[in-house]
Homo-oligomer: 350 residues x 4
Amino acid sequence: MEKIKVGVLGATGSVGQRFIQLLENHPFFTVTHLAASEKSAGKTYGEVMKSRWKISSDIPAYAKDIVITLPKPTDTKGVQLVFSGLDSSIAGEVETEYAESGVIVISNSKNHRMDPHVPLMSAEVNSEHLEVLKSQKTSGKIITNSNCTIMGVTISLKPLHDKYGIESVMLFSMQAISGAGYPGVPTMDILGNVVPYISGEEDKAEIEPQKCLGTVENGQIKSASFAISAHCNRVPVFDGHTVCVSVKFKKKPSKEDILKTWKEFSGEPQKLDLPLAPKQPIVYREEADRPQPRLDLDTGRGMATVVGRLREDSILDWKWVVLSHNTIRGAAGAALLNAELLYKKGLISS
Amino acid sequence: MEKIKVGVLGATGSVGQRFIQLLENHPFFTVTHLAASEKSAGKTYGEVMKSRWKISSDIPAYAKDIVITLPKPTDTKGVQLVFSGLDSSIAGEVETEYAESGVIVISNSKNHRMDPHVPLMSAEVNSEHLEVLKSQKTSGKIITNSNCTIMGVTISLKPLHDKYGIESVMLFSMQAISGAGYPGVPTMDILGNVVPYISGEEDKAEIEPQKCLGTVENGQIKSASFAISAHCNRVPVFDGHTVCVSVKFKKKPSKEDILKTWKEFSGEPQKLDLPLAPKQPIVYREEADRPQPRLDLDTGRGMATVVGRLREDSILDWKWVVLSHNTIRGAAGAALLNAELLYKKGLISS
Amino acid sequence: MEKIKVGVLGATGSVGQRFIQLLENHPFFTVTHLAASEKSAGKTYGEVMKSRWKISSDIPAYAKDIVITLPKPTDTKGVQLVFSGLDSSIAGEVETEYAESGVIVISNSKNHRMDPHVPLMSAEVNSEHLEVLKSQKTSGKIITNSNCTIMGVTISLKPLHDKYGIESVMLFSMQAISGAGYPGVPTMDILGNVVPYISGEEDKAEIEPQKCLGTVENGQIKSASFAISAHCNRVPVFDGHTVCVSVKFKKKPSKEDILKTWKEFSGEPQKLDLPLAPKQPIVYREEADRPQPRLDLDTGRGMATVVGRLREDSILDWKWVVLSHNTIRGAAGAALLNAELLYKKGLISS
Amino acid sequence: MEKIKVGVLGATGSVGQRFIQLLENHPFFTVTHLAASEKSAGKTYGEVMKSRWKISSDIPAYAKDIVITLPKPTDTKGVQLVFSGLDSSIAGEVETEYAESGVIVISNSKNHRMDPHVPLMSAEVNSEHLEVLKSQKTSGKIITNSNCTIMGVTISLKPLHDKYGIESVMLFSMQAISGAGYPGVPTMDILGNVVPYISGEEDKAEIEPQKCLGTVENGQIKSASFAISAHCNRVPVFDGHTVCVSVKFKKKPSKEDILKTWKEFSGEPQKLDLPLAPKQPIVYREEADRPQPRLDLDTGRGMATVVGRLREDSILDWKWVVLSHNTIRGAAGAALLNAELLYKKGLISS
């Protein structure tokens, strides 16, 4: 069976690099189109990235000789789907252009996330939101994934919300520096330090989970109606966002209820055995001091959500700690899993 | 006027070192007694500490020639007050022994903190709790200070509690490694990592602020009755605990109310112009990304509480960020300020 | 073909953990014997290591149920070879006891390293030193590998020494904290800091390379006769020792000579296609700022030596930078490669 | 006595900030002129620096209301001396313009450093080089200080060179991130990592010490003639460059000779009791593991050179470790000390 030709927009950035890495030898997709800004356009990916590749394995051989173009749908020669890691300053328009030209856009950017016609999708959580694609007026379609900070949190909430109803969530993040891209955070700001602020992050964290856990009504997504309060912090960790959450439920479950619910949770990616799907979407660690980025980040090849420290909360109902890999599960990996789901469900026409 | 002779118990540990440093050239106190474990007893402080002194200024000259003894009150030759940085495994008994022998014990250890006859004191917050000293049956008296994590939080709550009444507090800490003493946290556990757990810390954080903000009734301290939920985390920061708090009030103040209350807050240490008292106990930073350990830790020579990011909370009422220096304001400095207060109030008899 | 039964001495320590990890599903060896101190003896490995396992993948399933014994050869039931990661305070005697009982000891400890009858072996460098095993008087034999700091340095020198003769070597190391084991370096000593001293390290670095590059004469190993001066430093890096070297040759090669020599270098592990052998023992990076621990550590699954920045030295002849993985290539991996070599050469009798 | 009016060029950068801080309440100088690029010109320093001030004490009050201008000498209203922390892309021309307009330029930039008519001065080392100022043709004069990396090294060599003659020096640096300015090093490049390369640094390190230790001949400075080989590395340390050196002497001194020479070393800044002069220019630490940035950086308020680990070198003669504060002694502090020397010697006319 022939592979689908795909492209990566924003191929030179941090998320773009992860796309390039995760797409190496992919069973469904073959990368033929790499787009970036004017500085890089016209050069090969290998040439441009020689001193900018920041992942600890080498640049995949397949990508090195691809000549980078500008992010324009005119030039894509048979590409049916693009992954977008574009900067939000241009992602909105560029992604729309690709969609208008018939290309499916799997975007990690924030621009279209809150559009009620666009799924804000985490494949295990809300694949049924794909239904709203029909309501998009372009021939290509746009699917987004959520902000990295709340990705794991939302996964840990999903099966509990279904059974017990979430009423409110306090969340407190300790976010890795890779989340800010490259060059990103200056070392003078974060070495031996924490910064209790990330521009725009709390705003996203307080509205995106409700959309992910929302319902489709009249061809649009309607967000769930619980409240979230977020404190977002930057810490000197390379990869891996750790989030402490306190949650109030409509109907308070027991500890055993929660652990059992997490253990049994499984979504479409697991049913369809998607290449990037973690076997166990939520992994609970029993140790008192877990999860930790250093020890748990690679669980499920960076695609699992690792949870620990479930205990009663003296104000809300329960509290726990969530870890997820911000550039894999929280960004490029989540997007690729969404694309794999579309492929397996036959939603990428050829 | 002659200085009061004082001792330091646990003089070789992290908190002990801070005591030694802060007591250099102190106008009220002169150190004549240093006590530590058998390994160190009989040797001079300079000899023992040569490779164990971990503060970036040198060992104060005055301390170098003092011969360390075991922590026994029999040997103190005129010492009227001791500062205790003893390990909690022995602090309880040893401190009681000193108190029984007529010595005032200013303790940073947790053992006596929750005794209703013992002030859990932060000099700006609850100096009126000294009243319960009368109910202690020993000739010497024991005064404790709170855990480092909630020190700054409690100070930031104090004037608001007085005016508006605290109803509940969610707190999320990012705590420095110096809080674990030396050798303390192994580098393999925390370099480029966060650990979402500190043994015993959340328990203390959920009960100590209420005692600090409590009232004296029938010669005992009765804790205030609000609830606290704490998430305590270790981060790779050297000194300085950063705490995010969300607070619900009995009567919700406006933003201006809160800022004005903090600005005007002042306690007995300021009125009595105590040597270690910060001019401004609570310093509010207007910048979006403050307070930060690296930039704000030394505010008020490490004795001020630095607050920032006051904003509405979508679940409780208000949220903000608190920073305080864990080994100065949160430990040795708080204890010394308590001792200075006792001195100025004439509570150290000679 | 049946696998050889092997043991790991010092199984709970840092090097022991790496042995356990690298031996998972090994084609030649099966672990049946795990030895550690009294604290652990009698318990299963899984039980003991629950909170002490410090590698980011989980404890291999095979090891979890093995009951730990004391390091005594009496109890080994058919084990023909042991890997030793024992502390040097006991490694000398214990390893001799195992050897006397007929077991081959592959040791990472320093105790027997400088014995002229014991190979100090890096499989690509000096496999011909195995000849001296005959001169060992025990029925089992002891083979050691060098200190982690000079492992990569020695590999980078080997083919140049053969062709051009080393006359002198200045080396400056920046060593990872994992080299000190666990709990090892206290965070207060190294966070945001460097320590220009590692106990005993310079002494080893100044004599071990000469033995590795020595010759067999009269059944003993005679060290090569060049001089080394070492400056050893600890830096806040998790894994990976980076070493700057300046080298004077007997006959000065050209830059092209050196690069070609490194590129063509290959040893017995490559010829015999040993499971753990890196395809390319020495990998040269052309980029101006490489090698770096974060980007290059996993080259050849942590078994390759990564070299960069070859340039003329204004005092000696040439200078360059060497990186090797201190707990894989510099310790457990080097030892396992030595064992694989023995196996393939038929030196493990059964 | 009236203070001299001075300016700071490049006032918003890292070195500029240090100048502003060190000049607060200075007994000789009063800052009236702050210059920076177009982005800042026309605004007050306080306004511009609100979120860019990176030193842990607050912006000095005196500087906040000064309106920043472009770096042009036309607008300086009575300024007799400027401190330059300008970027090297413009420092050359701008500094010359100021000198031509009659202003003394104390520069931390590299542009004029190797001009034989310009002192490359470290006040304790080579104040006699001021003699060449006469040969500068401008009415104002330019005095530079050396690169931060070799500042402390050169001080440690100075008195030994005078007595025993330096023949060659190998140096290996571990340099703090603040040396790269702000935003400077991206965190993704250095967190838990080392980078064995700093652009242009080794070139400077291999020629500047010889000029500092050179002699005045025919009104020009002639560099000393020994060779240096440098390996320069970036490490995750905030402030403080640590340098390992191995040195060969013309006439080999004993260990006692060296220690005595360092202890007795003193220069003009000490004789003239300059405000910023460290009492002891070279401080030797006896402990096995010192100097370290964290513990020794503030020695002499960041103006002393801290040395340790003196031991024999098996290839050259002696080796040791040098630490100096890169943004104080290695940059702004060194420049200010040079200015203080000029003032006291009456070389700033008014």
